[in-house]
Symmetry: D2
């Protein structure tokens, strides 16, 4: 179903998914576990490296304990222990316990969220996923992620357009909002690209006083893309293989509980479960976005080496943006 | 003390270190925690990206449980647990316990090994290191590692030159051996480059029968560079900021216990503790080396995003080689 | 200040504590870390063993994962991993990670809760406690707990007296309620005894459907003794060294937030922080209580060996009731 | 097969086990998971409580980190983390990671060691054990252990009889040695009793200098009962349900590798895998043994509440001796 020029069908040409939305299942074969990451081709990798103009490097991972308290209480913080090894000279090891790769900056693998109960991207069953046979993070780790990235800085674009915007307010971004941010860049999306959505949320959260953060987590809300079919269509048709953001869930939080909401009021289930799109959450995008605002260049080379854990679900992005 | 053209002094022009060998302390200021990674400049980053010719990506991290049993019994294997989250649809998290970043592919940070008891690279004290104030892995994580890499394939170069070589035999490579491997590449080293030393060890280990591996660990030996001042001089004068290998300790194992051995018979203490050089161990270099042998191109872009753990000691390299 | 006959002063004869309530500090010397457990004497131990009449043994620890989901989300469940050891014949080990001793049945040590910010039982500072110098669980572990226990079965006594009572409703028990339960036993308290308060809460919780338990935890309420000075006086004057219950916090949950509430509206701070009384929570008392109702004998020998973890805070009770 | 008076058959009347030794399988029914702990009857529990004469309590658990370094490197030490909970007043929790219940004082459950590959006590399969259906530690936890204990102090009896004995020397105790220690007590064994074998090993180990302990572990040897059929017969015929010791493996270490050695040269496989006898290792018996030597009373009440972990393998004994 991939078109001759290597482009995927447009959203409206995809088959309907059974519970709503459209389905990308089968586009890369019945056994595929990579999803849209299949769109990473040598030509696109090579072209992405040519975007580098200055040699500036921006690590995009927040510290492992950089989202504190964690936004999902059950995830908890990693416990880090130093281990002294006296021989033959002072040496140190370290050990992490309770390391949940989704506590700080993270990729959601295609094993993180099902589309419908028990059914994951490309028809993988819960048993497929639990056994590590399909969709787990190591599939991406064994490929390596190298792509052109386009920075969408809604945190700057909205105020610049006269719109009131506060990162801590739970704003839902519309397709028009993303287009506004894209128009600032002067760039088009391209097949295989990665969208980096800067909402200002993580930086804002990190700067709140301790007690405010603790209180805030109890009534979690965070900005992100709206839960609509227009948004699903826009993201698919962008050609992007991934969208990574500095907010909690890429999409606005909390989910939309109204029965009439676009499938489930929770876009994860369509983006991950049907599109096979990689979602990056709580990435530390502030320095990169500031640099883009400064030099007016909103694209870069992005490299990411997810943790090579067999059967793993999440991972720190281990991502570098290089301009 | 950095020379006008940005090159560091040569080994023989460095001051003597108090217990033997030469010292790189102070070259980047009294508070430096990056070591030779300071040699990563925008110009070198930019130039490294231009080495990419095909868009081929080689992830260099072995699986987290890919060195089994671990070569250092005290390190143990990570324990990986899947966590079911039923709401609002089937979701999964995962958690790692007992995750020692030095069990599989790893970077040793400048906090891993002291030069003399209690004294680390650049004069950092044990308290500096334990408190995460100096030398820990997060200093590299906040910079991001992007460099030209040169592949030294001793596992192929030695047999090709008629030398008997078995990866499981604990061979010590001399300066001449490395020069032999370099001559095959037709390349020169350059300031800021990273050496990737393919010994064949990890691939060999992974292919041994279960019981053989268990037995072998009890009497650990592994190939690597020899413990000599000639080797220290060679590595420093190469201009490399790091040397990463698919063997246990970059240098041959076990250490040389003879009193007359070059300082300590254990090169780590000089390379890490005096040079501030990054050592990469147990990297999965087999596919990359095979590709280099195939196309005759032994250099590439290397990106690595160490885990951003404050006060951390080791890290998976999270490394990609891009040709 | 201990009286000639070995009895402690009565509550109203204790000095006032600075933020409200009365203080037991200093009764056992300025360095004491045992609290009321000092009242365990050889004579009382010997007498307690003579209460055994039938040789019936009731283990009082719920399963480590027997309170699921945990009532305090941050505590999480232990992760249990089996480790195969093939040599010389099939052998197994096991490992617990994320083992918080306060997730299931537990003792609160005198290090668990301060009286005022930074000040623990008997004037111990936060540094004293964090360093394991004072008040931690190992003080009790090194003594061992052996005592006469008296079973107060409010879950049966209230309905039997015509009072409506539901274990899941967050009922606050008054002094009169406890006296009602005591009168059923026909027993008096005695210096050094342990009160076992059966509220029916844990058994009720364990029998709810999965989804109900998950919902219920989000709005936690649990029965327990009321937050009043009358209750503090009653418990002290009982002569008990400990009170253990099958409910969440011994006292009713949630705490009383009204400014006029008895010091802090949270009795823990007085019972633990001033009295040095051991609080046992979420003990599995159902079988024991049923047996007492059956044979009409509401006292027994109680043994408990807290986990011998240096500097530890909580512990499973590892308790046996023997009748 | 239990005899009319509640005594079990004698060793020589048991059926032969297929690989050597005698078999206790089936004595308590085909589904039994308790093993000899079935011999704990109310009458025996009651009688054991009457042994208490003074009210002296001896906790028998070494500290969790009290065997340091651990004698089995793969077991590692627990990592203990304190967790601050600021609200509503200073509160503390704690968490253990890497907690292997066999690192310090421990019970081996009947799931710890097979008799023949894949076959555990009473014919339980590996799947039975791994799934927690049979033989695991929680079976004993749900019963609770209360028994008469007899102290065999070989560490004192051998020297008193003019025999040279050093706790660190790997001495094998013969049946005659145990009989010598028993004769000092003036006591007989009784059905359902527990033997406490004081070898002096743990106390000796704890008093060695740090470096000596580290060296010693690399070449582990420890005293214990000999690997002979005479010993197996003696232990079974004693009527004991358990034997607990302050040494590494109850039996002498290392195992006897000679082909002619009594089945396997490793008594665990017969004691655990055929007899269903509980083995206690590395118990801290020094204070109790000293007290017995002092007052001449070598029996006591023993209570033990193994950790109630479903499907668990080992446990701290959580044991108290009460005299």
């Amino acid at each position: 179903m991939t078109e001759p020029n290597g482009r995927l069908p447009r959203y409206d040409d995809l088959p309907a998914a059974d519970l709503g939305g459209r389905s990308g299942w089968g586009l890369f074969g019945p056994d595929d576990s990579l999803g849209l990451m299949n769109q990473q081709t040598p030509e696109r990798v090579l072209a992405a490296t040519r975007l580098v103009q200055r040699g500036a490097v921006f690590p995009l991972d927040a510290a492992l304990d950089g989202v504190d308290p964690p936004l999902t209480p059950k995830r908890g913080k990693p416990r880090h222990t130093l281990v002294h090894r006296p021989s033959p000279v002072t040496g140190l090891d370290d050990v992490y316990d309770n390391f949940n790769p989704q506590t700080s900056s993270q990729w959601d693998s295609l094993a993180h969220m099902a589309y419908s109960p028990g059914t994951f991207y490309n028809g993988a069953t819960e048993e497929d996923v639990l056994s590590g046979r399909r969709n787990t993070i190591d599939f991406w780790a064994r490929q390596g992620i190298v792509a052109r990235a386009v920075v969408l800085d809604v945190a700057r674009a909205l105020p610049a357009a006269g719109r009131e915007y506060r990162p801590g307010s739970g704003t839902a971004f519309t397709v028009e909002d993303l287009e506004l941010a894209r128009s600032v860049t002067g760039l088009s999306y391209s097949p295989g690209c990665i969208l980096l959505l800067h909402t200002g949320f993580l930086g804002w959260y990190q700067q709140q006083p301790d007690q405010d953060r603790a209180d805030w987590v109890r009534n979690l809300r965070a900005p992100g893309v709206e839960h609509t079919e227009e948004m699903a269509r826009y993201l698919w048709d962008s050609g992007a293989v991934a969208i990574a953001s500095d907010t909690f869930a890429v999409e606005v939080w909390p989910p939309d509980g109204r029965p009439e909401a676009f499938p489930f009021g929770f876009l994860h289930r369509v983006l991950i479960g049907q599109f096979g799109m990689a979602l990056g959450e709580l990435w530390q995008l502030g320095d990169l976005a500031a640099d883009c605002a400064d030099d007016g260049v909103f694209e870069c080379l992005l490299t990411s080496a997810p943790i090579n854990g067999r059967g793993g679900i999440g991972s720190p992005p281990n991502a570098l943006a290089i301009k």
